[in-house]
């Protein structure tokens, strides 16, 4: 009709809401994207949809009562939540946990780490269009979950640790089964490599996408695989060993430039390292008690304690202030996902909309952990 339509065509920026109900946000998170066509100008994560107020709940529960609530923070890594809470309270009470209990804690935690990384691996591949790895990852995860269920009685909300030890000893055939699982799992990681890590389409979609420089990662307080992907070899298990990690040998995989592929590779390698830890623990597992002597009513002396561990998503800490009563006066949770998510806007600027999923998936957050 008219020839001058190209000049008259008015373009403007627009806002795009990704989520809260979006299959790729893995929980309830809203990403508000300011877009220019397909290019991202800015991103604002809008969180809080899963806020349950655990820090406030803690002030109204006794120390023993609060333990089951911690399962629900990072619900893919319940054992870690239990662990860091127990460590903090044990610090307040000045209890030493028997060695067998510590070894069992590390054993189930590392199993849980693999399970948690598998839940990241599968959906990450699926977000990028590869459906098969998801099914394989969940098949292996199912075996770990079965193992952990036979120990604790639940599949995700374990509540297995107790202040001063663990709730029950390992079931009789657990060691045999865990060994069998390790043997089964080792070749599977190589299989994932064939399926995904070496796939050219996958590499094209993740390499040099969402580059996180070292300094920026440190500035934002990133931790875990996100920080290590950027080339910083920082792992609480090595830098500030808790539990029995100093008796175990394992490597800290690091990336080089901090793109999505580096973060991916770090996690894949971490699964291999976790298997290594599990095998050592199964070898070394000492006998003896599984619970320290803990008073019936936990009433720490007034004071404060901070405990931190290396959870699958990073540096996970609990800060507890005691006023001498049987309930915490104040409890603060330092959630790794929260800091890791906050760096997302920096990473996606200038990328295309389809890259958001590659970057977002490689950061691996759990909304239960972000919102608490």
């Amino acid at each position: 009709m008219k020839e001058d339509s190209a000049q008259d065509f008015i373009t403007e920026e627009y806002l795009l809401n990704m989520g809260p109900q979006h299959p790729a946000t893995h929980g309830v998170l809203r990403l508000v994207l300011r877009m220019d066509g397909e290019n991202i100008l800015d991103l604002v994560p809008d969180l809080g949809y899963l806020h349950r107020g655990f820090e406030k709940i803690a002030e109204n529960r006794t120390y023993k009562q609060f333990l089951p609530f911690t399962d629900r923070l990072d619900y893919l890594a319940g054992m870690f939540n239990n662990h860091v809470y127990c460590l903090a309270v044990e610090k307040l009470l000045k209890i030493t946990v028997p060695p067998r209990a510590e070894y069992i804690r590390v054993l189930v935690s590392e199993l849980n780490r693999i399970a948690s990384h598998l839940v990241w691996f599968g959906p990450f591949a699926m977000d990028l269009g590869a459906i098969t790895p998801f099914l394989y990852a969940f098949r292996e995860r199912e075996m770990i979950i079965d193992l952990l269920e036979s120990v604790s009685g639940q599949r995700l909300t374990y509540s297995y640790f107790r202040i001063g030890g663990v709730a029950q000893d390992l079931p009789d055939d657990f060691i045999v089964q865990a060994k069998a699982f390790c043997e089964y799992f080792k070749p599977k990681v190589d299989e994932y490599d064939t399926l995904l890590s070496k796939n050219i389409i996958f590499i094209k979609r993740t390499k040099n996408i969402g580059v996180l420089p070292k300094e920026l990662a440190i500035d934002y307080g990133c931790s875990g695989p996100v920080l290590r992907g950027s080339g910083v070899a920082y792992d609480v298990r090595k830098n500030e060993p808790y539990s029995v990690y100093k008796d175990l040998s394992f490597d800290i995989p690091v990336g080089t430039i901090g793109d999505s592929l580096d973060r991916y590779n770090v996690r894949i390698e971490e699964m291999r390292q976790s298997v290594r830890i599990i095998e050592q623990v199964l070898e070394k597992l000492p006998g003896g008690e599984i619970m320290a002597a803990v008073p019936k009513v936990v009433k720490p002396a007034p004071g404060e304690a901070y405990a931190r561990i290396e959870a699958p998503r990073g540096d996970f800490g609990f800060f507890i202030v005691s006023d001498g009563s049987d309930k915490p006066y104040r409890l603060k949770i330092r959630a790794p996902s929260f800091s890791n998510l906050s760096v997302l806007p920096e990473l996606v600027k200038g990328l295309k909309i389809s890259d958001v999923l590659a970057v977002f998936g490689s950061i691996d957050i759990v909304l239960g952990d972000v919102d608490r």
Partner: protein
Amino acid sequence: MILKFAATIYNGVMSLPQGMMVTLKYFLKKPVTMQYPDQKWVMPARYRGVVSLIFDKNTGKHRCIACKNCVKICPNYSLAIETAVGEDKKWFPKTFTLELGQCMFCGLCVEICPTKALEMNKEYELATYTREELTRSLLP
């Protein structure tokens, strides 16, 4: 330019069969999926299902002495007991209810019971049609 583009696509397509080989290997093996409603799970011995009182098979009696320790430890306040004194001057629970919708299956109540009167059974299909059905009485 176009050649390079074509080469990229060619390389991408060629990397697919590698993955396909892995899939094919499993294609020839037995399926791992369980046909759920037809087949049922066997729950592990420690599975934490619904909190219930243990009744002796022979006498049909439970061991609860209405000490209310379980009520006090419950983090979600899901248990409630009305106590009464029997003819033998012993306490017993007149009513004992569990708010299933509130329970988080932590097992603290079972652990603390001094007479080991509670257990967690192996039930796992717990959805109900009405909210009222979620309130369960542990007594018959």
